[in-house]
Each structure stands twice: as structure tokens, then as C-alpha cells.
């Protein structure tokens, strides 16, 4: 290792150098890459139990197939990230089966229960859109060759999830009545979740190894804006109430409250008039949400059974 200094590697990757193996990394590069891949793998993995709640009770055979296909994709994407981590010396066994539930690094949005089919499709429309925004940027910009290649499959499949979400959001809104009400309820708690998803604003962040090493191309604010510019017009078109609007003069979507704000976990409701600091938001994330332990345990059941009977 350490064929280059950090500064040399930063300059090389900014000029288009693609890293293909460990001996071409610096410690700092490897650390930033491991962090990025862990967040990516954990996010894909924990979306699966979250989606599974409504998927197992999907309204029909067709919808059961489409939602289970999405879960299969997410598990496959988690596998890709964990395999890449394994090639960097991080044990997949440890990542999947040994960590404490609160040590997972997925967004807080996947620590929540999805209550019904409408919430599943809103999650596809809003959370998978966040996933595409982040991973699309990584795909276009990453300096790590193995990840760039792996993201071809991921991008294809995440687009299917997004389409599934948007088509169904539209269908349920057009149906009106309870279907529309449940979509609105889902959007009301998931939209601010998405605003938080992209993390601290640029002016509060001092430096960013992922940007310096070209593990991604866009800043948090740029990514958040990309997501808003897609989600806000969709919600407006479907006449869904969100605390944001499209600003014609600025030519972009604008959030109508000071984020981050307090979240009432029991009611799954945002207190938009109760701003908090980012440190307080991070604390909430680190405490993890109501479904965290259950979700992590759900992906370990068979592994624990196998360990017990294989050792007996």
C-alpha cells in the first residue's frame, strides 16, 4: 500500500485516474471508501425488512411479485456492497451478523415501519429516488473501478423501483378516497425524512474526503437539490401537500421550513415548527428508530438457527 501520498492520489483521481486495487489506495482513501460502501450496503439491506412489511400483505399476486422483486434487488445490491467491502478486508460475516443493531449506518428513514401498500409505494417514490440520486452520482463520478462497474446493475434496478413508486402513487391518488389519504399520510412523514437523508448542509461541513478522493461528485446540498427538483414537482402534480414548493423565479424546488426539525416517532409526524441543531439530528439517527432492532434481527434469524444446529 501507499504507492501514492494522499495529495498525489487526490490529484490523480481528480484528473480521471481509476483505482483498481488496494495497492493503489492510501489509508485515507480506503477508509473513506469503506465508510461509503458500508452506508450503501446497510441502506440497501435495511430497506428490505422495511419494504417487506407491506409486501407480504400486498393487495394482489401481481403486487406481491413486484414488491418482492424490489426486495430481491435491494438484497442483491447489499450483497454487491458487502462483497466489495470484503475485497477490502472487511468481513461480511461481521457486517451482517456481528454488529449491534444501532451500529448499522443506513438512514433513519429505514428504521420506521411502513404501515400499508400506499406507504411502500411512497417509499419507492421518495426513498428510492434518494438512493438513485446518491448512487447515480457515485456511478458517474467514482474513482473506484469495481464500484463503478457494479453500479450498472444497481442503477437499472433502482430505476424500476422508482417507476413502480411513481406509477402507484399516481394510481392511488387518482383513485381518491382512502387510497389518496394514505399516500398523503406517507408523503407527510417521508418527505422531511428525505430532506434529512442527504445530511449536513455544505456550509456546516468542513472538508469531505469522499469528494476529495472523487468517491462522489456532488455535495450534500447539490444532491438534496437534485432530489427536491424531482420529488417536489411530482407531489405538486399529484396535489399532495408538502412543506416545499417549486419556485419559478429561481427555477428550483425550495423547502418551506428550517430543517432539521423534531420528529415524533410514536405518531410518525414531523414538528415543522420545532427546529433542532444538526447535532441533535445526528443524535436521533444514532439512537436509531423504532424498527431498528426488529429489522436487524429479521435478517439474522436463519443464520442463528444454522449456527445452533451446525454446532450441536
Amino acid at each position: 500500500m501507499a504507492r501514492f501520498s494522499d495529495e498525489e492520489l487526490k490529484e490523480k483521481v481528480q484528473n480521471g485516474f481509476i483505482v483498481e486495487s488496494e495497492d493503489e489506495m492510501t489509508e485515507a482513501y480506503k477508509k473513506a471508501l469503506i465508510t461509503q460502501l458500508t452506508v450503501q450496503g446497510d441502506t440497501e439491506l435495511m430497506s428490505a425488512p422495511s419494504y417487506y412489511g407491506p409486501a407480504k400483505d400486498a393487495p394482489s399476486t401481481n403486487t406481491m411479485v413486484s414488491s418482492m422483486a424490489i426486495i430481491q434487488d435491494e438484497l442483491g445490491h447489499a450483497n454487491i456492497a458487502y462483497r466489495l467491502l470484503e475485497d477490502l478486508g472487511v468481513s461480511r460475516e461481521y457486517l451482517l451478523y456481528e454488529r449491534q443493531p444501532h451500529e448499522f449506518k443506513h438512514p433513519y428513514g429505514f428504521d420506521q415501519y411502513l404501515d400499508n401498500w400506499a406507504e411502500l409505494v411512497v417509499a419507492n417514490g421518495l426513498f428510492d429516488r434518494a438512493g438513485i440520486t446518491l448512487l447515480g452520482d457515485v456511478h458517474r463520478n467514482t474513482s473506484y473501478g469495481p464500484l463503478k462497474r457494479a453500479l450498472v446493475k444497481v442503477g437499472l434496478e433502482e430505476n424500476f423501483h422508482l417507476r413502480h413508486g411513481e406509477v402507484w402513487m399516481r394510481r392511488l391518488c387518482e383513485a381518491g378516497g382512502e387510497a389518496r389519504e394514505k399516500v398523503q399520510r406517507g408523503v407527510s412523514w417521508m418527505f422531511p425524512m428525505g430532506v434529512e437523508w442527504f445530511g449536513m448542509p455544505d456550509d456546516k461541513k468542513r472538508h469531505n474526503a469522499q469528494l476529495d478522493f472523487r468517491l462522489k461528485g456532488m455535495t450534500n446540498d447539490q444532491l438534496r437539490q437534485t432530489w427536491l427538483n424531482a420529488v417536489v414537482p411530482l407531489c405538486e402534480e399529484l396535489s399532495l401537500d408538502i412543506p416545499a414548493h417549486w419556485d419559478d423565479a429561481e427555477g428550483r424546488a425550495v423547502v418551506d421550513y428550517e430543517f432539521p426539525v423534531n420528529f415524533d416517532e410514536a405518531e410518525k409526524a414531523w414538528l415543522l415548527d420545532e427546529p433542532i441543531t444538526w447535532e441533535q439530528a445526528f443524535e436521533r439517527w444514532k439512537r436509531r428508530g423504532p424498527a431498528n432492532t426488529e429489522y436487524v434481527e429479521s435478517v439474522r434469524k436463519g443464520r442463528i438457527q444454522m449456527r445452533e444446529i451446525a454446532a450441536a
Binding site: 400483505d57 422483486a69 447489499a78 450483497n79 394510481r171 436463519g302 443464520r303 444454522m306
Partner: protein
């Protein structure tokens, strides 16, 4: 084998009792696959390794895909697929009894994957040359997908059978438990004789059971497990529902198959 002069295009070309037998068989396959998919889906998150989660998810989708196609075939028999899917009670289900209860452990999953899934495939395979063209044309793709289900079941059965004494014992016990329902599922020896004579299927109950033994026994025995032995008993057998126990699957599985909890969103 896509077109032939002897092809039947419509159930109306069949004698009434044969037509009914064929309809019951398609429904039994459709219901079994619908419930099998639900049983598999219970392990989509909790399989012992990430790749097995992915396989379980994909396999459950395959089964639902097959059931959807089979339900749709029943339209030509005068059934309403929407009603079949969303309005029946547990006691109306014709699914294989071996799937009446959830799969509580991974060895149970593996046994069902290796044995129940194989039984359904043996039955399906007997329709691959059916004179009833709409069915025959849909069976081939299903059989191709089933190859991977069988591969998964056999590999895991071998793994459990050789992992440890406790793993083998758990697997053997799951096998003993589901086995009777599986071998009875092919029905009394002469079941299907009428359909066979009409070229709808190429084997009777006894012949199918034998084919199943031929396929299952080597898989079981090379895994270090024993093929259970028992006598057949059709004294309370319901031919049309292909089962002895009249209750049907557990209420939770039926609620999920019907989509009860998300009925407000049923729009396809």
C-alpha cells in the same frame, strides 16, 4: 411441441367429468403455488446467508408468477380469477396439505423446497405434452424456472444432511412431517386415468408418485437422510380438493393470499 392436429383449444371439447378433473388439477396447482410462494417469502429476510435470501425471494416470485398464469387459465373453464384470488375461504383452497402450516425453521424451508416443490414439478411435467394447448404452452417456462428451485433444494438438503447430527436430525424430522401429505397429493393410483386417456396428462396418480420417488429418493439419500416409508390412506380423501384435511391453509396465509390487509389498494 407448440401445435398439433390433436390439440384441444377449449375445455368445451372435453367430456364433462374430464373437464372438471382438469379444472380441479389446474386449481390445485395454482393454489399450491400461491401458498408455496407465501411460505418461501417468510424466509426472504431470514435465510442463513444473503444469497439464500435472494434466492428465496426470486423463487417465491416464480411460484406466484406460475399461480397467476394458472388462475388465468381457469377463465376458460368458467371461473373468475379475481374471485379465486380474493374471495375464497381457507376451506375453499385446494393447495397441497404439506403447506398448510408456516415453515418455522430453515430445515423446514429446505425440505419443502426439495420435496414439495419437486412434487409440484413432477405433476407439472406430466402436463408438458398435454393435448390441452393453452396449458401445455405455459408449462415449459415454469419447468425451466423449477430447475433452479430443485437445484437450490437439493444443494441445501445435502448441506443440512451433512452439516452435523443436529442439522441432519432437524431435517429428517421436517421430512417425516411433510412427507405423508406429499405422497398422498398425487392421489389414488387411478386418479387422472380419464385425463390420461384424453391425452391431457401423461400419467396417473400411481405413475406420478413413482416418478416422484425416482426423483426425490436419490436427493434424500445422497444427503444422508432416510426416505420415510408409510402406507397410503385415502379413506377421507377429497378428490376435487386433493386433500384429506378439509381445513385448508392457516388463516394468516389465506388473508395474505387474498390481500385482505391492503384491500383498499387493490387496483390491478
Amino acid at each position: 411441441m407448440t401445435e398439433s392436429a390433436a390439440d384441444l383449444r377449449s375445455p368445451d371439447q372435453l367430456a364433462a367429468d374430464t373437464r372438471q378433473e382438469l379444472r380441479d388439477l389446474i386449481l390445485a396447482l395454482a393454489d399450491s403455488k400461491r401458498i408455496l410462494g407465501i411460505r418461501y417469502a417468510d424466509w426472504v429476510l431470514g435465510a442463513p446467508e444473503l444469497e439464500a435470501n435472494i434466492a428465496a425471494s426470486s423463487i417465491s416470485q416464480d411460484e406466484w408468477g406460475h399461480s397467476r398464469i394458472l388462475y388465468a387459465l381457469l377463465k376458460d373453464f368458467g371461473d373468475d380469477p379475481q374471485k379465486l384470488e380474493h374471495e375464497r375461504q381457507a376451506a375453499d383452497y385446494c393447495s397441497i396439505e404439506a403447506l398448510d402450516r408456516p415453515l418455522g425453521t430453515w430445515p423446514e424451508f429446505v425440505v419443502v423446497n426439495a420435496v414439495v416443490d419437486t412434487a409440484l414439478s413432477v405433476q407439472l411435467n406430466a402436463l408438458a405434452a398435454s393435448s390441452y394447448a393453452p396449458l401445455r404452452q405455459r408449462v415449459q417456462k415454469q419447468l425451466e424456472e423449477e430447475r433452479f428451485h430443485a437445484g437450490h433444494g437439493a444443494a441445501w438438503l445435502r448441506r443440512l444432511g451433512t452439516a452435523s447430527d443436529a442439522a441432519r436430525a432437524a431435517t429428517q424430522s421436517a421430512l417425516e412431517e411433510r412427507w405423508p401429505a406429499v405422497i398422498h397429493w398425487f392421489g389414488p393410483d387411478e386418479l387422472g386415468a380419464g385425463m390420461k386417456a384424453a391425452g391431457l396428462i401423461d400419467a396417473t396418480g400411481a405413475e406420478l408418485r413413482n416418478r416422484f420417488f425416482q426423483r426425490a429418493r436419490p436427493t434424500i439419500e445422497t444427503s444422508g437422510l432416510k426416505t420415510p416409508r408409510l402406507d397410503l390412506d385415502f379413506s377421507v380423501w377429497n378428490t376435487s380438493r386433493r386433500r384429506s384435511n378439509p381445513d385448508g391453509p392457516d388463516p394468516e396465509a389465506v388473508a395474505r393470499a387474498r390481500g385482505d390487509r391492503n384491500r383498499a389498494f387493490l387496483m390491478d
